[in-house]
Symmetry: C2
Subunit: 187 residues, 2 copies
């Protein structure tokens, strides 16, 4: 079966991220990707999870407690300030963004193209060769189209010598289905 969006986003990360790595969940949200990443890097790895919403931070803290996860740091700030939190981090092997609004949350609180780009750029300095940044782009909500366009414009112009930029999505679905952009560092 062709992998669906979430499965393929996880596949990209598990093909790249190894035990003991440091990785980022840029949009912790309901904590599903945070949980996935925490298992992927193992007990001695390190997950840094960001969210701007208190509701998400509480949910993720609860999830970590429930599963006795100790390798994950939860940061109540925007991912655009990621560089403030990377002291002591040597390199990142992966990161994931779920762009849009918090499922079951306030639909007016959304991610924005400019801050997403700023976050990506900050991560590039720490991303190891063959490391990957995965963006799952939901864009059916108000403001979603603008963010999608800013991001596509930005990633299409990344040098092909330095990055591979993959687009993965289903193109015969109605209602603006989400799609994936994955950026892999080549050198």
């Amino acid at each position: 079966m062709i992998k669906r969006i979430i499965d393929f986003s996880h596949q990209l990360l598990s093909d790249t991220v190894q035990k003991n790595d440091t990785v980022i969940d840029a949009t912790a949200g309901n904590g599903n990707d945070t949980f996935f990443l925490s298992k992927l890097v193992g007990e001695k790895g390190h997950v840094i999870a960001f969210d701007i919403q208190k509701q998400a931070i509480s949910t993720v803290h609860e999830m970590l407690k429930q599963h006795h996860i100790t390798n994950t740091q939860v940061i109540h700030d925007s991912h655009e300030n990621v560089s403030n939190y990377l002291d002591g981090v040597k390199q990142l092997s992966g990161a994931i963004f779920n762009l849009g609004y918090l499922p079951k949350g306030d639909k007016t609180i959304i991610t924005h193209g400019e801050s997403t780009v700023k976050a990506i750029q900050s991560m590039f300095d720490f991303l190891k060769v063959n490391g990957i940044i995965v963006l799952v782009i939901y864009h059916g909500h108000e403001g979603g189209k603008q963010e999608k366009e800013i991001l596509l414009q930005y990633v299409k112009n990344l040098s092909q010598k330095t990055y591979n930029v993959l687009q993965y999505g289903f193109i015969n679905q109605k209602n603006n289905p989400p799609f994936i952009i994955a950026i892999e560092k080549r050198c």
Copy 2:
């Protein structure tokens, strides 16, 4: 590492096609996909490979002989006539098209959108549920853009109830890089 185009096209097929299945190489060309498929379905499977060019047919026959492959039928005809050759075939689990011109061959002999669509439609009747048709679309040559547009228009309009249509490609590369369209039958 993010899979490159040819590797991902083969991944899609190996995720779907099983031993003893019947599959189609719609554009045998230099025989690389034919070889791959013949291994995938095993000795008791069946590969039907099409090409309109004598040069390709000879190359593929030579390849089959060299590797002692006996499960592959090579047909010197256009894939648009595929239905003429499916007597006795119960179902197909996969097919692959490499669209464009024969590498190192005559660049004026190219695949065309209309005949590609006709071939796909003929295969749908035989495609099993969860079966897959993979199109690797080269479109940098003269006529390539037209074919690409005809195909995208066609596949985008396939019912999402019946088919999943995936697009997979690198979007920051110059010179019209090839990309994949994969069509999976849902029901």
